[in-house]
Assembly symmetry: D2
Homo-oligomer: 309 residues x 4
Amino acid sequence: MAMTGVLRPGHISLRVLDLEEGINFYKNTLGLVETGRDGQGRVYFKAWDEREHNSVLIREAESAGVDFFAFKVADKATLDKLDADLQAFGLKTERIPAGEMLETGERVRFEVPSGHLIELYAEKTDIGNGQSYVNPDPWIPDAEHGIAPTRMDHCLLYGPDIEKVQEIFEKVLGFYLVEHVVMEDGKTDLAIWLSCSTKAHDIAFVRHPEPGKLHHISFKLDSWEKVLRAADIMSMNRISIDIGPTRHGITRGTTIYAFDPSGNRFETFCGGYDTYPDYKAVTWTWDEVGAGIFYHDRKLNERFLSVVS
Amino acid sequence: MAMTGVLRPGHISLRVLDLEEGINFYKNTLGLVETGRDGQGRVYFKAWDEREHNSVLIREAESAGVDFFAFKVADKATLDKLDADLQAFGLKTERIPAGEMLETGERVRFEVPSGHLIELYAEKTDIGNGQSYVNPDPWIPDAEHGIAPTRMDHCLLYGPDIEKVQEIFEKVLGFYLVEHVVMEDGKTDLAIWLSCSTKAHDIAFVRHPEPGKLHHISFKLDSWEKVLRAADIMSMNRISIDIGPTRHGITRGTTIYAFDPSGNRFETFCGGYDTYPDYKAVTWTWDEVGAGIFYHDRKLNERFLSVVS
Amino acid sequence: MAMTGVLRPGHISLRVLDLEEGINFYKNTLGLVETGRDGQGRVYFKAWDEREHNSVLIREAESAGVDFFAFKVADKATLDKLDADLQAFGLKTERIPAGEMLETGERVRFEVPSGHLIELYAEKTDIGNGQSYVNPDPWIPDAEHGIAPTRMDHCLLYGPDIEKVQEIFEKVLGFYLVEHVVMEDGKTDLAIWLSCSTKAHDIAFVRHPEPGKLHHISFKLDSWEKVLRAADIMSMNRISIDIGPTRHGITRGTTIYAFDPSGNRFETFCGGYDTYPDYKAVTWTWDEVGAGIFYHDRKLNERFLSVVS
Amino acid sequence: MAMTGVLRPGHISLRVLDLEEGINFYKNTLGLVETGRDGQGRVYFKAWDEREHNSVLIREAESAGVDFFAFKVADKATLDKLDADLQAFGLKTERIPAGEMLETGERVRFEVPSGHLIELYAEKTDIGNGQSYVNPDPWIPDAEHGIAPTRMDHCLLYGPDIEKVQEIFEKVLGFYLVEHVVMEDGKTDLAIWLSCSTKAHDIAFVRHPEPGKLHHISFKLDSWEKVLRAADIMSMNRISIDIGPTRHGITRGTTIYAFDPSGNRFETFCGGYDTYPDYKAVTWTWDEVGAGIFYHDRKLNERFLSVVS
């Protein structure tokens, strides 16, 4: 009751072109905490204020992009039920054994029609946020090492058939639509923002012919001033900024889009309103999509719809 | 799935000593939007960014305090189920017919052992936040009229037998414990913060001999700068500030406590971390309760434990 | 002693293409306070926190741009002395009688080699900032009407022969160089930022073949959050944003450049460090001019060097 | 011209009860940069964004308090002229040779009637702010080590005969009155805030029977969010906070007062309006002095008038 089923985004596995460069970026510029490396050559990170062992994995590969994106579910029983529900819906699921990822329990993996691998899991070791659970301070020095987001928050994925994806997320996984952009025909969705919580988005999709693409992985900051600090740190480290600091019309969040050294777009953002499943979804029409995406400029930059990894 | 059962705090009914003075305060100083008055002499308000018709009711009475505090539930079926569950737990429930409150559906009311009337409801008219659901701006002029919180967020209630209250909120209503303060014996809770969402608190209780008391009703602001603005507006309007601007150790929120003209304490706060039901609760020990409540001063002021309405 | 001679920027006279449109923009979007209109058809404004009667004048004309930019000097004796010093330097000065501008004393006008008319004056009526000089509040409702900068802060002018301009400002008017951008030859200045106070700039010049051009008139905001609010208000009012919110490397200020309805670029900015005449000037080299102007993007947009009014 | 004579506060020498404890506090909690130690056992610090070698000296002594407070003047000629002017006014001055303080030129020292030693100097080594003067970044890692103010900004001194002190600062040193608090008689000043620049205060005095006392030494922060961060760091380090975060009515600055481990009060503040010598001074009456000092609480705490070092 209240918070059940799928709880939150849990981890993403990203491909980088050069592992050492990637480690340096995610650790020192983005300011995640490195928590381990495994036998497959994957390096594990978490944001300082996250409690679970990992939320971002990187591995070296020929091309950048996303391997899979996972959600934490309430418990083992929920995992089993959702696995059954996904199969009942007609999706093929795969069980990945506990331990395949460090400190992470069994995962249920399935591919959605947009071409992305999504995972569910119920168990991951709580290693804390660097504080005791007794009388903690509000923040720690790690909160100022690099950009230092508080959490990995959501991702925006590009691929085809987002109606079917939406149906799976809503009907099987219990998400609800928060905002959407309608195309020129006034009917077909260009983009959908979905939540499993009170956050304005836990995952989002944009219609795109090529399957399995990553538009951006997003990290949360506590304030608009931290957004400025993030932009400063990006410039100091010669990180290529796509756009920002600015505000999204959609979700109202303040934001910067930038690229990791391999070309994976990431977002550091703040804000976004509280939302609930009984809320009417907000619609953005085709002629105002510019203001929806970049509220201040009121127009898309060329890269937004074309550059993905 | 995901967000089910009890969704969020929905409304509070407050007693004020002078209705006109109360209306002026809630409308022009706190900056809520007046949405109606009923035949019982109650005046209805909502925060500008709330969508439902009302979240704060005031009525004139001989003494200040809280009449009842309500939660919105997912739907009518949930309302019926929770009513049955509450009765099965041994609580007496009362059905208050739709329309008894303006634009509000049927309510299930019950008294918890701390002496407070809690309500559940499934329906209240969506009157929007002053914006269209198509291509909205991020905020409107009402967002700068008075203190102008975005929402009524939670309340802190004082009364006896908070163990039993906690049991009801957890076992029947699906809330979970986020933080708690333990008394000198190292075992008994002085205070508990409970969530039905990803917010650090949707309701909280402090052990107190007298039942049915209100410590404060809390309103959310978007930033620490809005907290400063709120303090400025309080001073400009000669509102008596209890403490703040400061930070809570508990929930990490930044905050001001102050009193409405009738002596009801209210809070305007920002922040607080995202939390989930699988998170381990944070414990504050008796010797550090000062830092837990007022992180900067690290000690309680005399009023915190003694002045309630 | 201490603060002597030229004190601060005092007023600018701008040309707009449509007076009513201009009045609406400067009053309701930028949020200046209208303080008068004169027989020449000029409309007078001040920022809410300024004390003198006016700081911005607009008049209708065939083309946008700046008529003149003025500085307040310490007193009448200073005005006379600076007039004499300017003439001794070889500049022709003109005395414009008191009252030619509303509530403004006699002005000394001269043209600098960049083709701009600069004025000095010693007297302008103090009409206050809307508060008493006894027990004032820190701000007033006007501080939230439109963007509502606290003051007209400085301007950036484009024209030829900026070496000579710099000599006049330094040797005759007592300004000092705070930062400058050097061209590809490593010697010639592209741009200079000059201060007569502890502010990072009271006036600035960029080398440009066409004389008498305005790059932007700048208005000060109290915080980075007010910069966000300004960008939101610009979007709400369909004001064309040139760039921002972002940060300047030069002066470190956070900023937005946008255009008034007539095409005059204006800036709303916050910050910039305290500076003093004994400070060594900061140099920006040609290869890093992008980071100097727009610190986050690290490159100039095409409009910065080409679009002036 | 423009900025002449006395430019800015340059250094303060403070007495601490335990040198190691003092070094740890000023370096790691307040976050100044240690720049040297001399043969007299004095330890030198500067704020990260200051350019001169030192602005705060501490030495071990039996009692806390201030030894002397100094201002930087424009140049050597100014130093000589002001020395002569001070003597002409009837004050005894002392020349302290260059090198008596590390990297600091000759100082002119004199005692004002409030019992404080004031110094003037024209030369101190520029060691920079940790950045090059060519293409600098807006901030450096030191800007986040401890509270990390940008500068030592001003001090508030307690002592008798502040009328005479004001006369010296105004007539000889070129300061001007920005704000003042009038006592119950409506005539006599309780407190005066004086500026030699566009800052709302470069030095301030409160009438007090005991001479030579320090109320607080003040350090500047860039934003209200940095004020919150400072309060957090104080709590983390168990620094005793006197009051704050809050706002001053006088100067409008946002502020925290706290005590170093020896009992010297210090302030970390942000803001304050731009002011000029032609501005009418703001007056605070006796009945509103509470709002003047602590704008939100609108009353003085007991310590403000009684605890000095």
